[in-house]
């Protein structure tokens, strides 16, 4: 019997609790300042909105030969529609997502891309202007946010699992996409009582086909969510743990028996969150006194089984995690001393400034001992981001991590892109080898595709933007001979902005 009193107070407590809104201190960009910046520095093309909402073209071979046995699709996602209705976002991570497919048929590569038709974007189409808060920018006079998916830009990553292709964001549901047309099919509901809850952008797939993921809920109270998705693509387990305070947790690791999440001391302040004038990013406060908290969960029960304390630092990504027989957990992390690079440097190009003066993440190893001790040390010089491993080593000891790498701002000078190399790292031995992109080519995350049985025997697929030719492109490397340069280089007849993450589906 219902009285329409909306008496489920608990339900209503959530109303405007989505990730935050901002208008104040941190302004949006403007098309004019960006155009002026682009005229000064052509590398800013990496942060320009694609000219078309939908693109498709074959890649033109510039050099080398494609391995005939490399067949399948590299799915890529990233913020792309930085400008719309004359409004330019103020942070790299704000833009509406563009899902792209690079399809290898053994003789050539074709490219397709489409700005994803999210409910968020549809609502803005209807309004004729930007009306919804984004990760780091709040448009003028924003609309009501009733749930996180209202602002879901589906712009961070892609997952192909259980015959579904999903575009992932971090603050809301996974969005199912038709792999043929790139049309959206709707948000995924893993279980009725989990509808609309955040499903993170760095799911981990184990050899048996199980996919693990996390999610971060801020309201009505902060908690970490844990998902176990079976090989068929249905939910096999779910857990949650209240954690207060809590902020962004972008990635995690799995080991043979454990899930491990490192929580940086960059946490959401509820009052700033509630003001309605602060973006999700800007509602975070840097609280180094909290340190970095490591939470360890049991994979069978999804219950917490360990907590460790590490020094303060801010990170997005891990390479991998594994455990020793005595229970010691090892993992690697691309960690910076603080989140300045996110707050400042990743905003600068949106405003037409090519400046990255903050300290960017470096490659570190962490050991979490069963007695509670925790150790962290630097394991490679320079800036390290977008780590990928051989997917057959997820949760097992790994000997190679493939990263975008740079010498670091102090050595490279303020005018250099921070990630100008593709490098192969040994977690115990630092940089094994690298190849430097020429200054007019800016690389994205490189995805490893297995070939032979040994770890690291495979290819690296690396999209890049050529700012001299104003063309997107793709490199294929032999992952064990990076220093030799790409096996193949192909280019697109149009530029694509730099994206974030992707996944390869063989076939």
């Amino acid at each position: 019997m219902n009285h329409f009193g909306l008496s489920r107070r608990n339900a209503l407590r959530f109303l405007a609790s989505a990730p935050l809104l901002s208008a104040g201190a941190l302004r949006a960009g403007t098309a004019e300042e960006f155009a002026a910046g682009l005229a000064r520095d052509r590398r800013l093309l990496a942060f320009a909105t694609p000219r078309a909402r939908e693109v498709a073209a074959p890649l033109r071979t510039v050099a080398g030969r494609l391995p005939a046995e490399l067949t399948g699709t590299l799915w890529r996602n990233g913020p792309a529609e930085h400008d719309r209705f004359g409004h330019r976002y103020g942070h790299w991570f704000d833009g509406d997502g563009m899902l792209q497919a690079f399809t290898f048929d053994g003789t050539g590569v074709t490219h397709r891309g489409r700005i994803l038709d999210t409910p968020k974007r549809r609502r803005e189409t209807q309004a004729g202007r930007r009306v919804l808060p984004a990760f780091g920018t709040v448009p003028p006079d924003p609309d009501a946010i009733r749930r996180p998916d209202d602002m879901n830009a589906a712009n961070t990553s892609a997952l192909a699992h259980g015959e579904r292709l999903l575009a992932l964001w971090e603050g809301g549901s996974a969005l199912e996409v038709d792999p043929e047309t790139l049309a959206t099919r709707g948000f995924v509901r893993w279980r009725d009582d989990l509808a609309g809850l955040p499903f993170g952008a760095h799911p981990k797939r184990e050899r048996d086909g199980t996919v693990w993921n996390i999610g971060v809920v801020i309201n009505p109270r902060p908690m970490l969510l844990l998902y176990r998705i079976g090989p068929a693509g249905t939910l096999d387990g779910f857990g949650h743990l209240p954690v207060d305070p809590l902020g962004m947790v972008h990635d995690f690791v799995v080991t043979e028996r454990r899930l491990v999440a490192l929580l940086p001391p960059f946490v959401v302040e509820p009052e700033r969150f509630a003001s309605g004038h602060t973006s999700f990013l800007d509602a975070h406060a840097w609280r180094p006194e909290l340190g970095t908290r490591a939470l360890v969960f049991d994979k069978d029960t999804l219950a917490p089984v360990g907590r460790h304390a590490l020094p303060a630092g801010f990170h997005f990504h891990h390479g991998n995690g594994w455990e020793e027989r005595d229970g010691t957990i090892h993992l690697d992390v691309c960690q910076a001393p603080d989140p300045q690079f996110v707050l400042r440097d990743l905003r600068a190009p949106m405003h037409g400034e090519w400046r990255f003066p903050s300290v960017h993440p470096g490659y570190r190893r962490v050991a979490l001992r069963p007695d509670g001790a925790a150790l962290i040390d630097d394991a490679a010089p320079g800036v390290t981001e977008f780590p990928r491993i051989d997917p057959r080593r997820v949760g097992l000891r790994h000997r190679r991590v493939f990263v975008l790498h740079g010498p670091g701002p102090t050595e490279s000078g303020p005018a250099t892109w921070v990630l100008q190399r593709i490098a192969s790292l040994d977690p115990d031995g630092g940089v094994v080898e690298h190849w430097s992109y020429p200054p007019h080519q800016l690389p994205e995350e490189h995805v490893f595709v297995p070939r032979g049985p040994a770890e690291g025997d495979g290819w690296l697929l690396g999209p890049f933007l050529d700012v001299a030719r104003r063309e997107g492109g793709l490199h294929v490397f032999d992952a064990r001979r990076l220093a030799d340069g790409p096996l193949w280089e192909g280019t697109l007849p149009y530029p694509m902005p730099l994206g974030l993450h992707g996944t390869f589906v063989a076939g």
Binding site: H3, F4, G5, L6, N152, R189
Partner: protein, 152 residues
Amino acid sequence: MFPRPLTWILSTGVLLCTAAGHGADLEVELRGIHSSEGQALVAIHRRTQGGDFPSDASVVANASAPAATEAVVVVFRGLPPGEYAVAAFHDANGDGELNANFVGMPTEGYGFSNDARGFMGPPPFHDAAFSLGADAGTTRLVVNVAGAEPAR
């Protein structure tokens, strides 16, 4: 252009209204319903002593109509003069409840008059409130029943 709204005239909602002919009629137009599954539920509320809103105590009338993606109009007749607020939701699965996920976030579309919203809870009554005068004739207001409803 919107298609012509579908209209249901619902026999009076219950009400405090005794003096027939002295009340106002209220047309509530619901917009933004995502599918034609289930029903749209609308409730008229008044201010309560305890300030509870929306609550059992604040409801003075309610009505339902089949859900539709076109605008749905629900008409209340003979409301006595006073201050009211409207709450509505899309009961997509027809269970009569505003469903929520396990953290308490509504998973069905809902909305209030004046497009009022609260933070971490429903809006305060006064944000959603509007007045109906005596013999005010017919008043029409729009409630956006919005929600990016998880689909699959």
